[in-house]
C-alpha cells in the first residue's frame, strides 16, 4: 500500500528524512511518533506527493516514483483521506457542503448521489444534526469530526492523520481517536503522525519512533516491500487525559 525505499528529504541544508525505509499494508494501522522537526509531517507530505523526495522512492498504491505528473497527483489524492491538525475546512460553506466537496471532486457522482453519501459520512462521525452549520458555529472537536467525515466520505483505502488531536481538548481528542479506531476496524488503513505516544497507543497498531529524520524504534525499521514482520495489532488503549502542555 505505502512503501518508502531509502527515502531522503532535504530542505536546503536541513536534513528532514535520512534514508528511511518502511512499509504499510492494506488495512494496517501505523503511527509515527516524534518530536517537532523529527520529520513526521514530511512523511505525510511525501505520501500525498506535495513534495518529492531528494532521493529514494515513495510508492503509494499504484503510484510509484518521485516525479508524478500533476493530473496523476490529483488522482492519487482522491484515493486518500487526509485529516489535518487545523481541520482545513472552508468557512464559507456548511458542514454538508464541505464534505460534499470531496465527493464532487471525484467527478463520479451526480447531485442526487452526493446527498446520501454525505449524510452517511456525517452520521458516522455523529454530525448529522449539524449538517447545516458553518465551521465557525462548531466546537473544535466538531470541526475535526467534520474534517474526518470529509476524509472518509469517499471510503479511501488509507486515511492519513496529521496531529488530529493537537488542537482539541481531551474529551474531543478521545472522540476523534475513537473515530479513527472505528475507521480502521471498518477496513481502512490509518497512518497517524503525532508528537504524543499516548495518542498512538490509544489508536493501536504499529508504532514507529522518529528522531532527526530516522526511524529509531518500532517494528522493522528496514522493511522491504511485502515483508510480513509487522507488530501484531494491539488492542486499543484508552486515551489518557491531555495535559496543559499539549
Amino acid at each position: 500500500m505505502i512503501t518508502f525505499e531509502h527515502v531522503t528529504k532535504r530542505y536546503g541544508e536541513r536534513l528532514a528524512l535520512d534514508a528511511i525505509s518502511w512499509h504499510m499494508d492494506e488495512g494496517e494501522c501505523v503511527s509515527f511518533v516524534g518530536a517537532s522537526g523529527a520529520g513526521k509531517t514530511t512523511i505525510l507530505r511525501l505520501v500525498t506527493h506535495e513534495i518529492a523526495p531528494t532521493s529514494g522512492t515513495v510508492v503509494v498504491g499504484t503510484f510509484r516514483g518521485s516525479r508524478v505528473r500533476r493530473a496523476q497527483r490529483a488522482l492519487l489524492r482522491r484515493t486518500l483521506g487526509v485529516i489535518y491538525e487545523d481541520f482545513r475546512l472552508l468557512n464559507d460553506r456548511t458542514v454538508f457542503e464541505n464534505v460534499a466537496l470531496a465527493v464532487r471532486i471525484t467527478g463520479h457522482f451526480s447531485d442526487s448521489e452526493v446527498v446520501p453519501r454525505v449524510l452517511v459520512a456525517l452520521e458516522q462521525v455523529g454530525l448529522d444534526a449539524q449538517h447545516a452549520a458553518y465551521p465557525q458555529e462548531l466546537s473544535a472537536g466538531e470541526r475535526q469530526r467534520a474534517a474526518i467525515a470529509r476524509a472518509i466520505v469517499n471510503r479511501p483505502a488509507v486515511v492519513l492523520a496529521d496531529e488530529p488531536t493537537k488542537a482539541l481538548e481531551s474529551e474531543s481528542a478521545r472522540e476523534v481517536i475513537a473515530l479513527l479506531r472505528r475507521i480502521h476496524e471498518d477496513g481502512a488503513a490509518v497512518l497517524l503522525v503525532t508528537t504524543r505516544p499516548d495518542v498512538a497507543d490509544a489508536l493501536g497498531g504499529r508504532m514507529l519512533r522518529l528522531e532527526e529524520g530516522r526511524i529509531v524504534s518500532g517494528a522493522a525499521t528496514e522493511v522491504p516491500p511485502g515483508h510480513a514482520a509487522y507488530m501484531p495489532k494491539e488492542s486499543a488503549a484508552p486515551l489518557p487525559p491531555q495535559t496543559a502542555e499539549d
Binding site: 506535495e50 487526509v82 472552508l90 464559507d92 466537496l101 471532486i105
Partner: protein, 285 residues
C-alpha cells in the same frame, strides 16, 4: 455536475462582489468604447454604400452615331460593365430644363447643345477608383464615344474613406481585444489569490485543474456577457438620443450584435483559461 459549476460561479460572484463589479465596470467601459466605434463604422459604411450605389459612368455619344451603332454599343457596354440606360438629346435637354427652371434663360439657347449619353450603372466589382478609371479608358476607345465622365476624384476619396474606416475598426478591435484579455486575466489572477486557501484545500483533496478552473471561467465569461449587454444597452440609449437630437443613426444589425457579444465572450474564455492555468500552477501544494 454542470449545475454545481454554475452554482459555484454564482457563489463566487456574490462572495467577491467588489472584485466582480470592478471587472464588470472595466469591461463595460472597454466594450462600450468598442460598441460606439462599431456604431459609427456601421453608419459610415451604410452611407458609403448608399453613395457607392449611385456611382455611375456617363458615356457621351457623338452626334453622328446611328441608332444601329448606338444599340450595338449599348449591348457591348452592358456585357462588359453593367446596366446601361440611354438618354437621348431631347431627354437630356428636358432634364436640364427642369434643373434650370428659368424659361427665359433657356430661350437664350438656340438649339439643344447637349449630347445623347449612356448612363452605365457599374457592376459591384467595378465600384472602386482604379477599376472605374480603367473602364473609362477602355470605353473612351470606342469610336462612337465623344467623352466619358465618372467623377474620379470623389470616387477616390470615397474609397479612401472606406479604407480608413476598415483600418480604424481593426485597430480599435485589436485594442479592445487586448484590453478585455488584460482585464479578465488580472481579475482571474486576483480571484485565485483571494481564494488561495480554498484552492489549496481543493488541490489537497485531489481536485483536478478543470474542477477548480471551470467555475472561475464561467464567472469570467458571465461577467463579460453582463458587461457586453450593459454596453449594448448604453449604446442603444446613445443611439436613441442621437436619433432625437442630431441625425438619423441606425443601430447595429443583429449579426453585428451577435458577433460583438460572441467575440467578447470568446476572448473572456481564452483569457480566463490561460489565467487560471497559470495561477493554479503556482497556487497549490
Amino acid at each position: 455536475m454542470h449545475v454545481y459549476f454554475l452554482r459555484e460561479a454564482w457563489r463566487s460572484f456574490r462572495q467577491h462582489q467588489g472584485l466582480a463589479w470592478t471587472a464588470v465596470v472595466s469591461l463595460t467601459a472597454t466594450l462600450l468604447l468598442c460598441a460606439v466605434f462599431l456604431l459609427l463604422t456601421n453608419n459610415a459604411r451604410r452611407a458609403v454604400r448608399f453613395i457607392g450605389d449611385r456611382r455611375e459612368m456617363v458615356v457621351y455619344l457623338r452626334d453622328d452615331v446611328s441608332p444601329a451603332l448606338r444599340d450595338s454599343l449599348i449591348g457591348r457596354l452592358t456585357v462588359l460593365y453593367g446596366a446601361v440606360t440611354y438618354v437621348s438629346k431631347q431627354q437630356a435637354w428636358d432634364e436640364f430644363s427642369q434643373q434650370v427652371g428659368d424659361p427665359q434663360l433657356l430661350q437664350a439657347v438656340d438649339q439643344n447643345p447637349l449630347p445623347a449619353s449612356l448612363r452605365v450603372r457599374l457592376r459591384p466589382e467595378l465600384l472602386n477608383y482604379s477599376a472605374m478609371e480603367q473602364a473609362a479608358k477602355q470605353v473612351q476607345q470606342f469610336p462612337e464615344v465623344e467623352d466619358v465622365r465618372y467623377g474620379g476624384e470623389w470616387v477616390r476619396r470615397l474609397d479612401e474613406l472606406q479604407a480608413t474606416l476598415t483600418r480604424d475598426s481593426l485597430a480599435v478591435g485589436v485594442v479592445v481585444a487586448l484590453a478585455i484579455l488584460l482585464v479578465i486575466y488580472n481579475t482571474i489572477r486576483l480571484s485565485v489569490m483571494t481564494r488561495r486557501r480554498e484552492v489549496e484545500i481543493m488541490i489537497r483533496l485531489g481536485a483536478s485543474d478543470r474542477f477548480i478552473a471551470t467555475p472561475l471561467t464561467i464567472e469570467a465569461v458571465g461577467q463579460t456577457l453582463l458587461a457586453a449587454l450593459i454596453a449594448l444597452g448604453l449604446l442603444f440609449a446613445v443611439q436613441q438620443l442621437a436619433l432625437q437630437q442630431v441625425a438619423r443613426v441606425t443601430f447595429l444589425p443583429p449579426w453585428w450584435l451577435a458577433g460583438f457579444v460572441g467575440g467578447a465572450v470568446l476572448l473572456a474564455w481564452i483569457a480566463a483559461s490561460v489565467a487560471v492555468a497559470r495561477a493554479l500552477r503556482s497556487a497549490g501544494p
